[in-house]
């Protein structure tokens, strides 16, 4: 066991807001590690490492830096293992870690830990043509109305009737199912990452247990850090890009929905981890951390996982689409209008936890890679063929959900991000305190009254857990976003602040 000062020899500052993690920091590193952090964020990273050294590695997850390095030791990894400014420890992979594996290398792996348990957890932003003054008087009722339409919390059940057959179709078709059934607009599909459907989905690879968990939960928000927020535009940094997104003026009302694949995705990940542990023994895959269970991409377990993951991703899109439908209904009811007249279009929909096959340049050569994005958002630059035509000139919109009660951001993708981070940027604030620590240190009544003081209406299923999601438990989202902007891996476009929150 090395001391903290010995560890520091492997970490070297590079550029204004980045750090290299040299080979040797952990065993078997195939590539270097790298992470982005500004002054405030780097302190968190180094403190975490120091603490782990002092406690001789006992207790909790490994520090984020170690996790980034362990991922750099996985077979088939190319480029480097990258931590974004919001990186924090997670299961196996740190949350906010990107790793890409060469599809043409038979040794390359896919790891459920690199995707995360909440498969295709993501954020969707709807715009309206309403002004803050249109909703101010109605805020409480509007929050209640949304709360009535969108069931929240652990064990919640959705109000869209689903049969087992419906679910099979939804898993296979993703948003195309929602379109067929009339829950979505044609334009919603256009403005969704992957057009709301992963074609390699195969519902037969999803266990019946996972389906059973998913069936009643469709159209529900869930718990944890998921939320639906009514927000207003606080600042526009890039007027032209904002205009392309239909955001024209300050105090314009938007709705942000942050949710994922609920119990269904969790079960898919759990099933895959069990299957892969066996495959690792058989194929003699060595990893530094047991939590980094993985399988060769081309193995049966690897393929089965990717197909099941795609199905869970489709589920998540149907889920967010269903909540979009319910939000439109709630707004139409409150304002005695139609969603059309309220111009409630989807600006964009991004995925946070997903692995995708993409084309990238490595040392000047085009390669097909399996890019794992865990707690990170795809941020493709202008003119990339996989982004919607409306955003070809601005770059892909990247939606950064803040924590409850703090602001959120819309960024756009850049060419530099394409070069440095496989076209990826941060996903949110990133946890700074563990859930348990938050519960110990904070009082839920303080958290609620702080929100009330900011004039934010809140509807919440389990108020006693609210301190887990308090702003104090998270990194400062503005620090995170500013670091991404400064590093050039994405560009600030719009800042939003919440006026009402619905949470599990």
């Amino acid at each position: 066991m090395r001391t903290y000062n010995e560890e520091l020899k492997f970490v070297e500052k590079s550029g204004p807001c980045g750090y290299h993690i040299r080979k040797g920091f952990v065993d078997n590193m195939k590539v270097e590690g790298y992470f982005y952090a500004n002054k405030a964020l780097e302190k968190l990273m180094f403190d975490e490492l120091k603490q782990s050294c002092n406690s001789k590695g006992f207790g909790g997850f490994l520090p984020g830096m170690k996790q980034i390095a362990n991922v750099a030791a996985l077979p088939g990894i190319v480029g480097r293992s990258i931590g974004l400014p919001d990186v924090h420890s997670g299961y196996g992979f740190a949350i906010g870690n990107i790793a890409a594996f060469d599809m043409s290398d038979p040794k390359s792996v896919v790891s459920p830990g690199g995707v995360g348990f909440d498969i295709n957890c993501g954020v969707r932003l709807l715009r309206t043509n309403l002004h803050l003054r249109d909703v101010e008087g109605l805020k409480e009722q509007l929050a209640q109305c949304l709360f009535d339409h969108i069931p929240v919390g652990v064990g919640s059940k959705g109000i869209i009737p689903m049969t087992a057959q419906n679910l099979e179709e939804a898993l296979e078709m993703g948003m195309d199912w929602s379109l067929r059934e009339g829950y979505a607009w044609a334009e919603d599909k256009e403005h969704c990452e992957e057009y709301g459907r992963m074609l390699q989905a195969d519902p037969s690879k999803v266990s019946s247990r996972a389906k059973k968990r998913g069936l009643p939960q469709l159209g529900t928000l869930g718990a944890g850090n998921h939320y639906a927020e009514i927000q207003v535009v606080e600042e526009i940094y890039d007027k032209y890009a904002a205009k392309k997104m239909g955001v024209d003026f300050k105090d314009q009302v938007c709705v942000m929905i942050h949710s994922g694949s609920r119990g269904m995705g969790h079960q898919v990940a759990t099933d895959a981890l069990v299957a892969m542990e066996k495959a690792m023994k058989r194929d003699q895959i060595d990893v530094n951390d047991r939590q980094l269970a993985c399988a060769h991409i081309q193995s049966v377990e690897g393929q089965d996982y990717l197909k099941a993951m795609a199905s869970a991703a489709n589920y998540a899109w149907v889920n967010r689409t269903s909540m979009t439908f319910l939000t439109r209904q709630a707004f139409a009811k409150m304002f005695n209008s139609t969603p059309d007249d309220l111009d409630m279009h989807v600006i964009y929909d991004v995925s946070h936890n997903i692995a995708k096959v993409e084309e990238h340049f490595i040392d000047g050569k085009q390669k097909t890679l399996l890019v794992h994005r865990k707690g990170s958002t795809r941020a493709f630059p202008p003119h990339h063929p996989l982004i919607p035509v409306d955003y070809q000139l601005t770059g892909q919109p990247v939606l950064i959900g803040g924590t409850m009660g703090t602001c959120s951001y819309v960024l756009t993708g850049t060419d530099q991000g394409m070069v440095e981070t496989f076209g990826t940027t941060c996903h949110g604030a990133g946890r700074a305190l563990s859930r348990a620590k938050s519960r110990r240190n904070l009082d839920y009544t303080d958290v609620l009254s702080a929100l009330a003081n900011q004039g934010i209406s809140i509807r919440i299923a389990s108020p006693k857990l609210v301190m887990e999601e308090a702003p104090e438990s998270y990194k400062n989202v503005t620090d995170v976003v500013d670091t991404c902007h400064e590093a050039g891996i994405s560009k600030k476009c719009i800042k939003l602040r919440p006026i009402a929150v619905i949470k599990g």
Binding site: F147, D148, P151, V152, G153, V154, G155, S156, K157, G158, I159, I160, P161, L179, R180, E181, G182, Y183, A186, E187, K189, E190, P216, T220, A223, K239, Y240, K243, F325, L326, Q329, P381, P382, H383, P388, V389, D390, Q392, L393, D415, A461, S462, G504
Partner: protein
């Protein structure tokens, strides 16, 4: 064979007359006598009408002599031609006034008129005539379209400009956006602030590449709109969204 004469006489099935076939030859002769020549009295035509009769060739010989035909009944081709010619002469004699005005020029004119009526008059334009070229050039100047060697390409450009800028819909849309523009001056992004995404070498090539890229985006947008329209049409058949608030349950 004999098609033109047969057509002039309004003979049915003018295309399929085969005088080598006995039956068809005989039928033709009977038809000519019945409809056009009318040399014999109706009651005297019976022997001629008896197509199967063994005496028919003799009857024909007698008939031809009666008409002062210079040919023998065995010279089938010559006889047919002469009979047809005779019938045409008689037909003309019946309507001299009607036919004497027909001159080759007038006939040509008639033909053009008929063609014009049945299809697009533009088809008969001479696209390479100097007048046509001049017309395109002046239209292009009016619409501020830069000159190009192939005047047909210029015509295409003119069509696009008119469709996109001067149709009723686009005029209405333009009016609306001008009103908006007056409110907000920065609606459009200037070309030099548009990012191309790569370097095309010199400034002129870069500008050109930018313009091409924008045109391509325009086409893509068009395609996406068509896709959306198609989806909406299918939705009209399949969509039936339902909600049932009794199913809802708030968790902890």
């Amino acid at each position: 064979m004999f098609k033109r004469k047969l057509l002039a006489l309004d003979f049915p099935d003018a295309d399929i007359v085969d005088i080598k076939d006995d039956q068809k030859f005989r039928s033709l002769v009977v038809w000519l006598e019945d409809q056009k020549i009318r040399h014999l009295k109706i009651e005297d035509r019976d022997p001629l009408r008896n197509l199967q009769g063994e005496e028919w060739l003799k009857v024909l010989q007698t008939y031809l002599i009666g008409l002062n035909c210079p040919y023998n009944s065995t010279e089938r081709q010559a006889v047919t031609d002469w009979l047809l010619g005779y019938a045409v002469r008689l037909e003309y004699g019946d309507g001299v006034d009607k036919y004497k005005n027909v001159t080759p020029e007038k006939f040509q004119e008639l033909k053009t008129k008929q063609a014009g009526a049945s299809s697009n008059p533009l088809d008969n334009l001479d696209f390479n005539s100097p007048e046509f070229r001049a017309g395109i050039t002046s239209l292009a100047m009016m619409l501020q379209i830069p000159p190009y060697q192939d005047h047909l390409e210029v015509l295409k450009a003119i069509c696009t400009v008119i469709e996109e800028r001067f149709s009723l819909e686009s005029m209405a849309a333009a009016k609306k956006s001008t009103e908006q523009l007056n409110k907000e001056k920065d609606e459009f992004i200037p070309l030099d602030k548009t990012e191309l995404g790569f370097d095309a070498g010199d400034i002129i090539m870069t500008e050109t590449a930018k313009i091409l890229r924008l045109l391509h985006l325009h086409d893509l947008r068009d395609l996406q709109t068509k896709i959306n329209t198609a989806i909406v049409k299918v939705q009209e058949i399949t969509a039936n969204p339902k909600t049932d608030s009794r199913l809802g349950k708030v968790g902890r």
